[in-house]
């Protein structure tokens, strides 16, 4: 039996695994998710693929306490609007952070996590989430 959602996921893999969006060289704006045309420059826009560095800060957030079945194992969890250093904003789950520690402007980095899975025998969807930046020994 053909599994639902396979082609849909496959088209997005590059974008959701590596946070790949676009950069319009005409207006110097970064977009995520990828766009077909630059919404500001329209036909004058020049879009090129751009992989975001994955660093940013929390613009705003919410604590989820009532979740869909596939997320029940994780409640309470944090969903935030993350503003990437390049300027684009995206919605993502914040992990490796207790709900009492999250705050606006918290510095975060992207990490690779399981987003959901299509049942026990279906495909597993992986992608980006964000976590507080980590201490690195020896880093100035």
């Amino acid at each position: 039996m053909a599994e639902k959602g396979v082609a849909q996921l496959w088209r997005k893999i590059k974008a959701i695994y590596t946070i790949q969006g676009d950069h319009c060289t005409t207006c110097d704006t970064y977009y995520f998710p990828p766009r077909v045309v630059c919404p500001q420059c329209r036909r004058k826009g020049q879009l090129e693929k751009y992989t975001f560095k994955g660093l940013g800060k929390i613009h705003t957030f919410a604590i989820v306490r009532q979740a869909p079945d596939t997320f029940k194992r994780q409640i309470p969890y944090i969903v935030a609007q993350v503003e990437l250093d390049e300027g684009a904003r995206l919605t993502a789950q914040i992990v490796n952070c207790d709900i009492e520690d999250v705050h606006i402007d918290m510095r975060v980095r992207s990490c690779f996590r399981k987003i959901t899975e299509y049942g026990e025998s279906g495909i597993i969807i992986y992608g980006y989430k964000f976590e507080p930046t980590m201490k690195v020994t020896g880093h100035e």
Binding site: I13, R73, V95, I124, Y126, K135, V136
Partner: protein, 347 residues
């Protein structure tokens, strides 16, 4: 010469203390922790598996090596808890770290030594000039049946090692292996948890294979214990590697830095490699490391490694093993059971 050009690790944030597990099963936790030499173990979050752990470790390795990931020619992921029975974990890793599609990739399985088997294959490919750089990963979210002795040590973590011959941070001077058919630990197709031969996992399995592997490497390289500064043995618990060191006459201080098992448990395919990474984080250039990985079933892979000057330039950019060990949140047994899907009614 062929060697390690970069390495990265990942250890999930959650920990459960041996005492908490023991309390559920009516055991003396303090005595058990001391006897096993495992005081707490890492637990993967509900959204972590071997693919996510491998990607995080691989990204750290690529960052440390400062290489363009499109120069990687091979990816091999060694694990006994791949998320798919059929669909290689390496494909997800490759895409997530930005490799070119023109690579060779496969998943490896040899209990706890699948990661070091991947290192050996990458060494061969680099030496024969088939590829420039190979990525070998040992990563696991190990399973332990509730109430079984394994539950105290079966942990989660991963190590990624980039093998190449330019800007080497540690030269692999020699490697050899020792393999027999020894049924000490196994998991049949479709089974959720592994089975083991209890005390049989000791003398005829771990100690024979690690011991023979070590002695063979000493013989081939014409070296003795005195020629090495650090020793790393596969650590299914904190007791076995110490006993192995004693059998081979290794001074305690040469083994101490590899015993991360005490704080994070047995990371299976990542176990010996995690000990090696902890040593690489602190070793001075010129130091020599002797490592023997062990995989049930059974076999051992031995390595003689020399730390190069280049390693100093590669420190400070990615988290060390100790950084990950220190980043922890304790959970109780109920949360552990929820995260590890031990409640079957929840699916």
């Amino acid at each position: 010469m062929v060697g390690i050009i970069g390495y990265g690790v990942y250890i999930p944030r959650y920990r459960i203390k041996t005492e908490k597990i023991a309390a559920v099963w009516g055991e003396d936790g303090e005595k058990l922790a001391k006897g096993l030499g495992v005081f707490e173990k890492s637990v993967p979050g509900p959204d972590e598996d071997v693919a996510t752990i491998s990607v995080e470790a691989a990204r750290n390795a690529v960052k440390r090596a400062q290489i363009d990931p499109t120069n990687i020619g091979a990816i091999y992921v060694g694990s006994e808890s791949h998320p798919y029975a059929v669909k290689p974990t390496g494909t997800m890793v490759s895409e997530a770290i930005g490799c070119s599609p023109h690579i060779t990739c496969a998943d490896f399985e040899f209990a706890c030594k699948a990661g070091t088997a991947a290192i050996q294959v990458c060494m061969g490919l680099v030496k024969s000039k088939m590829i420039k750089i190979g990525l070998a990963i040992g990563s696991d979210t190990a399973q332990g049946r509730p109430g079984d002795a394994l539950e105290y040590s079966a942990a989660a973590g991963g190590v990624a090692i980039l093998v190449g011959n330019k800007n080497v941070v540690a030269t692999i001077e020699h490697t050899s292996s020792f393999t027999t058919d020894t049924p000490d630990f196994w998991r049949r197709e479709g089974q959720a948890f592994p089975s083991h031969g209890a005390r049989f996992t000791g003398e005829p399995a771990y100690f024979r294979h690690v011991g023979e592997g070590a002695r063979a490497l000493f013989k081939t390289t014409n070296t003795t214990v005195d020629d090495y500064d650090y020793f790393v043995f596969h650590s299914p618990n904190g007791k076995f590697p110490v006993a192995m060191g004693r059998q081979l006459g290794v001074p305690k201080e040469k083994l101490e830095d590899s015993l991360v098992v005490r704080q994070i448990g047995n990371t299976y395919s990542g176990s010996a490699m995690m000990g090696l990474a902890n040593v690489l984080d602190i070793a001075d250039p010129g130091s020599k490391i002797f490592m023997v990985a062990y995989g049930s079933g059974a076999g051992s892979d031995s390595f003689a490694i020399r730390v190069e000057d280049e390693i100093v330039k590669r420190r400070g950019e990615v988290p060390t093993v100790q950084d990950y060990i220190e980043r922890k949140t304790y959970i109780n047994y109920a949360t552990y059971a929820k995260y590890r899907r031990k409640f079957k009614a929840l699916g």
